[in-house]
Symmetry: C2
Subunit: 390 residues, 2 copies
């Protein structure tokens, strides 16, 4: 029997750390007529996006939208303020921290890495020590959620207190967990949050969002970068002047994200943080009860990316291929050296009891199917113990 038995398109459960399942009303919002991006049709949408963005990011400055992936927003956080020989501290414990470190070096700045093992996350003390040693640090870059390994920063608020003390900028590469984990920009003294539309917002990919502090904004204008596409002062000037973008915006995803923001505002950010925490814990408890080994340090566990170590002898391609083909559930593999050693479940966006329980039972059944004993009942019960809090 196949999931495509009736020959129609089967919409799989996309349990990836982004892209993720998109609510139908968000998808449908993209079916709208073309509009001119230099007309009031567009600026009225922009006004709304800015208004809603400021509510959700809890920031005072207008939110900036880039028609690009999240990576471009992270790159912008570097090119717009770091200059040759500036010092920048960066958390490195996986693929994405490594990228940020590279990008910092690319602009001729000095990357001071806070390193942790794959599956772990650097500590607040690591940051404290680095700042003591380098009090002239210009900026601290925290990858708040290391998507490649499933480790997250649990001390973001404290980081903001520290950077304030030292006068360093605090930049959060929060591409995969903004919208799921708490990080109010002003309250936490964060200077820059970079994120994307296709992760915890449950919109399609195509837009990156940037919230920034007045301080960061002033720094950029003091010494603007030269290239255009990631030149944030250009975006701010166009937005301030006419509520438009300097370069053609990805209209369909504006329409989609505008709708996704309504959904987020209606649920409320505090509820979203709880929902993500509860569902993540349901997954962790369920996989352990199932008989699997959780990957990574318990103290570093992400609320949006759940990493599991493969039992000896279970082939990644076979496991994930069978899960997709026979159960319609798509999970991610591991990155780099960990390809074939772990799989990662994206637990974000629309995540709720349905997605958690369906994923758990599909994975348990899939393991049994492939000859690896999995305790389905124990897993489901462990999950339900947590999900009852929702």
């Amino acid at each position: 029997m196949s999931i495509n038995a009736n020959n129609a398109t089967f919409q799989k459960l996309i349990m990836l750390p982004g892209p993720t399942n998109v609510p139908i009303e968000v998808t449908q919002a993209m079916v709208a007529p073309s509009i001119g991006h230099r007309t009031t049709d567009f600026s009225s949408i922009m006004k709304e996006m800015i208004r809603k963005g400021k509510i959700l990011f809890e920031c005072n400055e207008d939110v900036i939208y880039l028609s690009s992936s999240g990576t471009a927003a992270v790159e912008a956080s570097i090119t717009n303020i770091l200059r040759k020989d500036d010092k920048a501290i960066v958390t490195v414990c996986g693929e994405f921290g490594g990228r940020v470190s590279e990008q910092i070096s690319s602009v001729g700045a000095s990357a001071i890495e806070l390193v942790a093992d794959y599956g772990d996350f650097p500590s607040l003390s690591d940051l404290e020590r680095a700042l003591e040693k380098n009090p002239d640090t210009k900026a601290v870059y925290i990858v708040t959620n290391e998507t490649s390994s499933g480790a997250m920063c649990h001390w973001l608020k404290e980081a903001g207190d520290l950077t304030s003390k030292y006068g360093a900028f605090l930049v959060a590469d929060a591409v995969s967990n903004w919208g799921a984990d708490k990080m109010p920009l002003e309250d936490y003294n964060i200077d820059f949050i970079a994120t994307g539309s296709q992760k915890s917002c449950a919109a399609p990919p195509g837009l990156a969002m940037i919230a920034l502090s007045k301080r960061y904004k002033e720094q950029m204008f003091k010494d603007p970068q030269k290239l255009h596409f990631l030149n944030l002062p250009r975006y701010i000037k166009m937005s301030d002047k006419v509520k438009q973008t300097p370069f053609t915006p990805c209209l369909p995803v504006y329409f989609a994200l505008n709708k996704a923001f309504d959904i987020m505002i209606e649920e409320g950010m505090e509820n979203r943080y709880v929902r993500h925490q509860v569902c993540a814990k349901a997954f962790y408890d369920a996989f352990e009860a199932m008989g699997l080994q959780l990957f990574g340090e318990p103290k570093a566990r992400s609320n949006t990316v759940v990493s599991i170590a493969y039992p000896e002898g279970l082939d990644d391609k076979e496991f994930r291929g069978s899960l997709s083909k026979n159960y319609g559930v798509v999970v991610a593999g591991g990155f780099g050296d960990y390809a074939g050693k772990i799989f990662r479940v994206g637990s974000l966006g629309m995540i709720n009891e349905y997605y958690v329980l369906t994923t758990i039972s599909s994975i348990a059944n899939n393991l049994n199917r492939l000859g690896f004993k999995a305790n389905t009942d124990a897993a489901i019960n462990a999950a339900l113990k947590n999900l009852s809090k929702l």
Copy 2:
């Protein structure tokens, strides 16, 4: 009476130089389930996009897709090969040529500008002279269609012959006219074509497309740029390896552009060139017959952006506002110093008799409504004389 009299959404005629009207089947293609961008679901789409792109661009190397606006692709054509003190010749006769010149300087290269008045386009002799004077020119950047003024390059093929002779790279910023004007990459000895999804392709904005030569590719790999988002070698490596992108792709617009490419292939590029030429000429003849003054040099006239000078006393906001509100037709204003002096009609993508005639009669009626005599019959007849060729 209002175009919104029945309180439903009125889908305006978007006669802008991009974004433009999108066929319903292209819009509908975006209503598709989320897929994983690191799965075979995506790589099979990518394979198709590359196959179709190579047919349409008439190039041998795989086409590259950036999830960004066209500007980013143009910027990439600069950052990926120009280095400090390299010489680059660039056509400058409006906003977009000016931007390319700035971006060239941004990377520390020397921009040698071929300048023409707004509404005109530099000549082949200008390029010849510049190359004679600077035989060590690394690259020539031609903005094939200066969207801000409605002037285009009519000697692109000859440019390719020249640059081949001198061993310089030829880069075409063809954001607004690829898909409308002939520019087969290999045949014309072009090294890089940068364009966007929302112009002559009649898809929504959100993707930029790059076709390049083997020569340009090899140069990039010899001395790759450091930053990530526009790092084309990264895109090429991921594509060669697994038919995926290094950063999350804008899925909805992949789906849309994939469908738009089918439409383009079915019509055939040669037919598209003819359609765009005939419709543009229909517009030019009609506006003259109507009693309006065409803006710009006749020899430089664009096939996709038709620029008209406002008669004395006609206010831009009033004219375009009334055209949009009372006729549902949206045209563009002028840029910079020409704001208020000209209006521009985008004649690209889905352009055909219907769009041409509706736009012409709407504009004529609008002029008469505002007290400016316009000869509607003469205009329509002048248009029909051309459109009968389709």
